[in-house]
Amino acid sequence: MGKTLAEKIWADHVVRSAAGEPDLIYIDLHLIHEVTSPQAFDGLRLAGRKVRRPNLTIATEDHNVPTLDILKPIADPVSKLQVDTLRANCAEFGIRLHSLGDAEQGIVHVVGPQLGITQPGMTIVCGDSHTSTHGAFGALAFGIGTSEVEHVLATQTLPLVRPKTMAINVEGTLKPGVTSKDIILAIIAKIGTGGGQGYVLEYRGSAIRALSMEGRMTVCNMSIEAGARAGLIAPDEVTYAYVQGKPHAPQGADWDAALAYWKTLHSDSDAKFDVEISINAAELEPFVTWGTNPGQGLPLSANVPNPADIADAEERGAAERALTYMGLTAGTPLKSIKVDTVFLGSCTNGRIEDLRAAAAVLKGQKVASGTRMLVVPGSDRVRVQAHEEGLDQVFIDAGAEWRNAGCSMCLGMNPDQLAVGERSASTSNRNFEGRQGKGGRTHLVSPLVAAATAIRGTLSSPADL
């Protein structure tokens, strides 16, 4: 019987496999940031251990960093200590670090692909659940906790139980105005926040093939919101073209050898998935979340649901709590919901194509009065490229705030936060209670919906303009 893509990558990384214990898996790349690493480095020091492979490890500052006045000392002393600790740890253990102000600084999941160190067939981990992003290249990539960060630093391996596999077939052509973000929000709404638990999701089908690498990253990024540690897309010509020429891409004979290997990285036609589900891309519409978990989403044309219509008691209770928290009434058209803040950015939608898509909608338009829009590029390279293309000026002319790179309002660890009761339309990945600031209310949307919403001040798609 054939193998799935996930099974092939897994098999190629087994260091040791024995009955009664998890497989020991080799890790090709370890990404690090300031929040989930300090205790791991402390652990190494306490035990007198070294980092086994500094040359398979890379660090960036992203979660905590300010997006204004980045060359001044960080104002929050606790954030500053965490960033300083990362700098000291990287210096002590010989790890490459892209600090605030460095041309390669940015959100860890934007930095890896743009450097070309994210490549097909690799195992990639990071102390961040959105590591699933790198699965867009056909790499087995997943988030880990700090104990595992320490384990990878010390051994370049992880003991892991092989996950099950789920195929998600997305066939058909997307309608205009419908994007990769809408695909993944629709998938999460369909299978639920726990639906992917224990699985690696493999996204397949003509609608996935038709996506750019950046669109594919958006889809894989939110695999964790469906409960799956990892999402995968088999590499193809789009992938090879994206990687080729990047700073760390293989060159010459190495490129040929790599390409020959990458071409074997697909699920065999007779491979058996543990579960398969199908989505018709042609039926999808722009999606928006109404509740406080990413599975609570609906097409933008729908109304706020009535919890009384939900059969499952636990889900009904969750919906009631969500509506109370969100300050919404059942039956309200989603498009009539007024938004205070629009956030364009994050590892989900902070790449150049996302900024281009939003700028195309905003060009010559103004952000509605009473609404603020924050545009935060995913990396400094994205910021520079957007500037070269004149996108920054489009945002500024429209009345949006143009910032420096970082995680920013996606999780509100830095000063970019929602106030109590403030409502956002956000291109990020989580609408949990308080995620973007204590008491803040989040609606997850695509960059196109974010831009249209900024102009109208209510949840909108470009078709509504």
Binding site: D28, Q119, S147, E315, R321, R430, G434
Partner: protein, 199 residues
């Protein structure tokens, strides 16, 4: 890591599903560089509500948290596990945990137990009618006993052995570094390296 064989304590009912790690500990509390002191951030937003179950003095001192389905979704922050441990919890029981949270708990020595929704409900009923109900969690027997009733649970044998011995994974893997070196010798030469820095 301390050995976990049995634990006896009282329990708190958290009747909520999809408790994500941003609720367990919001991001603004993640800035410490140590593994201690995170109890202040545990369920920080919900604890502002006087009605929240953790604020109920009847449950003060409880060491077992009994939660709804899909506990620990979202962010990979192990701080969520540390916050629960720093607050005093030794065991969390739910009908389903998110993968990363479960993995983190097993590394850090917080026992996470999966039982059916009906069994969760039976514990909720018992501790809601009497908050002093004593619960015994026995990892050797894989059982939960309370009010003359015993529930059994499943746990991967390897994880159970590691928790019962109090072993840390890194020490175990370091005994196998010859195999890691053999694997590294055979790795494809085209795989990328982060050093030296290229531009």
């Amino acid at each position: 890591m301390d050995k976990f064989i049995t634990h006896v304590g009282t329990a708190i009912p958290l009747r909520r599903s999809n408790v994500d790690t941003d609720q367990i500990i919001p991001a603004v509390y993640l800035k410490r560089v140590t593994k201690s002191g995170f109890e202040d951030g545990l369920f920080a937003a919900w604890r502002n509500d006087p009605e929240f179950v953790l604020n109920n003095p009847a449950y003060a001192g409880a060491t077992i948290l009994v939660a709804g389905q899909d506990f620990g979704t979202g962010s990979s922050r192990e701080h969520a596990v540390w916050a629960l441990q720093n607050y005093g919890f030794k065991v969390v029981i739910s009908s389903r945990f998110a993968d990363i949270f479960r993995g983190n708990s097993q590394k850090a020595g917080l026992l996470t137990i999966v039982i059916s929704e009906a069994d969760v409900e039976s514990i909720w009923s018992a501790i809601e009618s009497d908050s002093t109900t004593e619960i015994t969690v026995d990892l050797e027997k894989k059982s939960i006993s309370f009010s003359g009733k015993t529930l059994s649970f499943e746990l991967d044998d390897y994880v159970r052995w590691r928790l019962m011995e109090g072993l840390d994974d890194i020490g175990l893997t370091l005994q196998k570094m010859d195999e890691v070196a053999d694997f590294e010798a055979k790795r494809a030469h085209f795989k990328p390296k982060t050093l030296p820095v290229l531009s």
